[in-house]
Symmetry: C2
Subunit: 160 residues, 2 copies
């Protein structure tokens, strides 16, 4: 079993509603490498509706958002030839999020989000993403993620 | 008391996780006119965190999304000089969503989302939005909403 990117986040950075493994109310989004792409699969709950039968656009934005920040971190480690459990830890936040909703997304079945890294430059990673359902692309995204300010990335007790 | 835009949506279009009054698990986002702008106020739950102390970006995207589709509907009625409880009902979906996260959004207190309509053209409404917390703008959005296809907007029993 491959470990998800988000499972490498330090505890104090694992309370994200979207992808934090320690947020008991959250979505617990998980992302993995698949060759040079990354992939996230998610089963929406019956109440994640826009209109009955279709997935809520805000959930789609959330999946794209967290999968992108996870991908940014994984790509930053990979660019340095480091494993994700080595120091210093990388954690990214979203600078901008763009989603084009191409068609209504059926709520039955598993959603698949895929990301490719378009650019890594300094503290910034730019990614293109797709979200598909039942084999059809339903949304496309572009996310610019930036490395979290060091002040926020540290455990609270060590912040100055 | 002004009635929220979302409270005019017909029952069968009121199950949106973001803003449906009949989605018991949802966020129940509410939007109102404030002069020529529209406003939505929302108190995040303690678990709507990105990192502790700050609001999850996917929630910000969700607030911008649903406030925009609500604003699009309200603007379409207003452009025709109609009240929102008159026929035919207007309901919009998101074609594209863009969010720039300007700074971390503090989770303590009420978030305020404001929208201005930039363009109404045919079935399309373009809006600019801001999200502020504690008096500071934390995110800016742009949403293109389009009128829902008639086939989806009808009550299920009358769909052909």
């Amino acid at each position: 079993m491959q470990k998800a990117f988000q499972d490498y986040y330090p505890d104090h950075l694992s309370y994200c509603y979207g992808c934090g493994r320690l947020n008991e109310y959250g979505l617990k989004i998980k992302s993995y490498w698949d060759g040079d792409e990354t992939v996230c699969r998610f089963d929406p709950k019956p109440y994640h509706t826009a209109i009955p039968g279709y997935v809520y656009g805000g959930l789609i934005a959330s999946l794209i958002d967290c999968h992108a920040t996870g991908t940014a971190a994984a790509a930053a480690y990979r660019a340095e030839g480091r494993e994700m459990d080595t120091e210093p830890p990388y954690r990214f936040v979203t600078a901008s999020l763009h989603v084009d909703y191409a068609r209504p997304t059926p709520i039955d079945g598993t959603l698949e989000v895929r990301a490719t890294v378009k650019e890594i430059k300094g503290r910034k990673v730019v990614m293109a993403l797709t979200l598909s359902a039942q084999g059809e692309t339903c949304a496309r995204g572009e996310v610019v993620a930036v490395q979290m300010p060091e002040q926020l990335a540290r455990p609270p007790a060590t912040r100055v």
